[in-house]
């Protein structure tokens, strides 16, 4: 049978696979070209090293000679035979569990005070934010080491009120506390975010509450905090992720040793020692991946718990 009786000039076209891809590139090609520098950087400088670090974690690698495959050897050694590893875990967990909540509480308190509206608000905001800009630097860590040293500024100040202080950084009881204080001192950056969150709370809620006779504290606990929970959540997750990775303060304040007696042996510092001082790069890589797992676990935990206490305005 022929269909020639229905001669139409219209062609019935089925879009062949080929030109759908071609259309895709035609539409998005330019975007990808713009992305290319970042993509190359990501693959070469981030993804590549991540993959090779995963490979290295299953090897013994002393940095000078070729890596030698040892399977799960590093992980087994880490969990069964390394006392200092557990010391570093303990120190790091202590640091995270104390400094993150303290820092956030401080940030929130100051944000609440500043939010009331003071003269010179911009100035205060800047002053409190400044430490978090420079706090992670080597220079500040060196300064911190001086301040809390035996004859440092803190002890000089204490002498004025008649207290003779020990060398805080050389005493295993106090050394970690100096690092926690350094972390909390950098509360400015979560504080700014809290301030932003506070300004987003509609005033109508407060007005309505006042009309109903709610006092300041009630307003705080029934309106402000619940509406701030997304911001608290954000700061919490970020704080946890960052503080697990803290390195510079511990390295500088302890002189690279994690001392005295491993009381400031942060996980990352121990990793550094294993890799660069003891030439056990395979082990250090394995430690890095375990840290990733730990951080991922705690982040997931926070997200899970967030379902019950984080309230998003406008419904979820």
């Amino acid at each position: 049978m022929s269909f020639s009786s229905k001669k139409r000039s219209r062609k019935v076209t089925r879009t062949p696979r080929k030109s759908r891809t071609a259309t895709f590139w035609h539409k998005n090609g330019v975007a990808y070209i713009f992305l290319l520098p970042w993509l190359i950087g990501f693959c070469a400088l981030t993804l590549g090293p991540i993959i090779s670090s995963l490979y290295l974690s299953f090897t013994r690698f002393d940095l000078f000679t070729a890596p030698e495959w040892i399977g799960f050897g590093n992980f087994i050694e880490m969990f069964t035979n390394d006392i200092r590893y557990f010391a570093s875990l303990r120190v790091t967990f202590l640091y995270v569990l104390i400094s993150v909540p303290l820092k956030l509480i401080f940030a929130l308190l100051v944000a609440l005070v500043l939010h009331r509206g003071l003269r010179g608000l911009a100035l205060y905001r800047a002053i409190y934010y400044l430490p978090s800009l420079i706090g992670g630097s080597v220079a500040v860590a060196i300064m911190w080491r001086q301040i809390f040293g035996g004859e440092g500024f803190i002890n000089l100040a204490l002498e004025l009120i008649g207290i003779s202080g020990p060398s805080w950084i050389s005493d295993p009881k106090y050394a970690l506390s100096t690092l926690i204080i350094l972390a909390v001192w950098q509360f400015g950056s979560p504080m700014i975010i809290f301030l932003a969150g506070l300004t987003q709370i509609p005033n109508e809620y407060y007005d309505a509450a006042k009309v109903d006779g709610a006092g300041n504290l009630t307003q705080l606990f029934r309106i402000t905090l619940p509406l701030l929970t997304p911001v608290i959540f954000f700061n919490l997750v970020l704080g946890i992720i960052n503080s697990f990775q803290a390195f510079t303060p511990a390295f500088i304040v302890s002189g690279g040793t994690g001392g005295p007696i491993d009381s400031t042996l942060f996980y990352t510092l121990y990793l550094y020692q294993k890799g660069f001082a003891e030439f056990q790069m395979g082990y250090a890589s394995a430690m890095a991946w375990v840290l990733l797992a730990i951080i991922a676990f705690f982040t997931a935990l926070t997200f899970r718990s967030g379902r019950s206490w984080v309230f998003y305005l406008g419904g979820k």
Binding site: F64, S170, P172, T257, G259, P260, I261, A277, E278, F279
Partner: protein, 422 residues
């Protein structure tokens, strides 16, 4: 016509360029990198000496990197592993086997005796820079262990050092007496317990070597316990400071701050300490054990060349300059130890400044009065990592976190890991 002109012009230019190029390849421009550890005085003196070298060899420039002992080995290790090793690097006895065994250092045998002239060097000193029968490191200076004490504080306490065959009991007695008369904030001696190097002296006094011939630890738990017990007693009696009172490096040391009357360090560092204080310091031999002082002469530091260097000849020339050029020797003084070349030592003696003269005198005395034993063989790889472990062990005891016995046990456990892991 125009094209012909252009071609002729181009040929003329390229001919003149090649003649210029030919002239400069004979004094090829060489850039070297040199990396060492030390405090700021060493940096200044080395800089001066290297500037002198550059003046004598205008085609060679040396870019200088320096850092403190803390962190030097991590930085060097990273550079070497990254293929970015400095051409000339300062080397230490404890790390030489580590680096030489991994092929990161250049065997210098082809460059000895020219340009590196080792005439006038003591055989043992030359041998100490060898690994596996090849020369990998050249000694820069000789030093020995020393007790450095503050004469002003001794005068104030109205006490004197006993004669040279004093024992550790004499030392403890003296330290206690010093602490008592000098008052609350000043101690008779710095706490030497955390330092593996001084423990080594203690071992040798008992006739024990730190390492056996097959590279395992040669001392027993009892030796370790004896050492730490002695210092524990000194801390408890107030003769040595508590573990929270510590200094940091030479400039910030307790000796320089006038907080301790006696200290210990390598003899070549004496000039650094003296330069940081107005008090008069002096240098003395160690308290003795059954086998004498336990001290030995050793190269304070070495210089090695990277196996990846592009200019081995030039690097060798720099090393030779630093040890054999009289002007360089005059500049460097005793900063890296007493010059190992006997000719250089003879030339320097007439013009030595008083502090350097003290150090020369000390080293000479050690040789003349037979106060030193034989220089030990190079340690096995991993030795450098024992320093931190030793310090941690001592801290554990000092802070009361572990009994001396328990801490000693843990030392051996962790040391075994270091030697099996590397």
């Amino acid at each position: 016509m125009m094209l012909k002109r252009v071609i002729l012009f181009a040929v003329a230019i390229s001919l003149s360029l090649t003649t210029i190029a030919q002239q400069s390849t004979s004094d090829e421009k060489i850039d070297l990198r040199m990396f060492w550890w030390g405090s700021s005085d060493r940096a200044e003196l080395t800089n001066e000496a290297l500037n002198l070298f550059e003046a004598k060899h205008p085609n060679i420039t040396i870019s200088q990197e320096t850092t403190g002992w803390d962190g030097y080995w991590q930085k060097l290790g990273t550079q070497v592993a990254g293929g970015n090793a400095p051409d000339i690097m300062q080397m230490d006895n404890g790390f030489l086997p580590e680096y030489a065994s991994r092929g990161t250092l250049l065997a210098l045998d082809p460059y000895i005796p020219g340009p590196i002239n080792l005439e006038g060097f003591d055989d043992a000193i030359v041998a100490s820079g060898q690994f596996d029968d090849n020369h990998y490191a050249v000694a820069m200076g000789i030093n020995s262990q020393a007790i450095i004490y503050n004469k002003n504080l001794f005068q104030k306490a109205n006490l004197e050092l006993p004669n040279r065959d004093w024992t550790w009991d004499d030392f403890s007695k003296l330290a206690n007496e010093l602490s008592e008369s000098l008052g609350n904030d000043i101690y008779g001696t710095e706490d030497l317990a955390p330092a593996k190097d001084w423990f080594h002296v203690f071992l040798r006094q008992r006739g024990i070597a730190f390492y056996t011939e097959d590279g395992t630890l040669g001392f027993s738990k009892q030796d370790l316990v004896d050492w730490f017990s002695m210092w524990d007693a000194l801390r408890k009696s107030g003769a040595a400071p508590p573990p929270t009172v510590v200094g940091q490096g030479a400039e910030d040391s307790l000796l320089v701050k006038g907080r301790v009357a006696m200290y210990s360090d390598w003899s070549n560092l004496f000039s650094a300490y003296q330069s940081y204080t107005q008090d008069v310091l002096d240098i003395y031999t160690y308290p003795t054990g059954e086998q004498g002082t336990g001290q030995y002469l050793q190269p304070a530091v070495y210089m090695s060349v990277s196996s990846q260097t592009e200019h081995p000849e030039a690097a060798a020339m720099v090393i030779d300059f630093l040890i054999n050029d009289p002007e360089a020797a005059r500049i460097l003084g005793t900063n890296r130890g007493v010059p190992p070349s006997s000719q250089i030592r003879e030339q320097l003696v007439p013009d030595l400044d008083p502090v350097d003269a003290q150090i020369f005198g000390y080293i000479d005395l050690l040789g003349e009065e037979n106060l030193v034993g034989s220089t030990p063989a190079s340690p096995p790889p991993g030795d450098g990592q024992l320093y931190d472990l030793f310090t941690r062990t001592s801290e554990r005891i000092a802070f009361g976190q572990a009994s001396i016995e328990a801490a000693a046990d843990r030392f051996f456990d962790e040391a075994e890991k270091i030697f099996s892991g590397s």
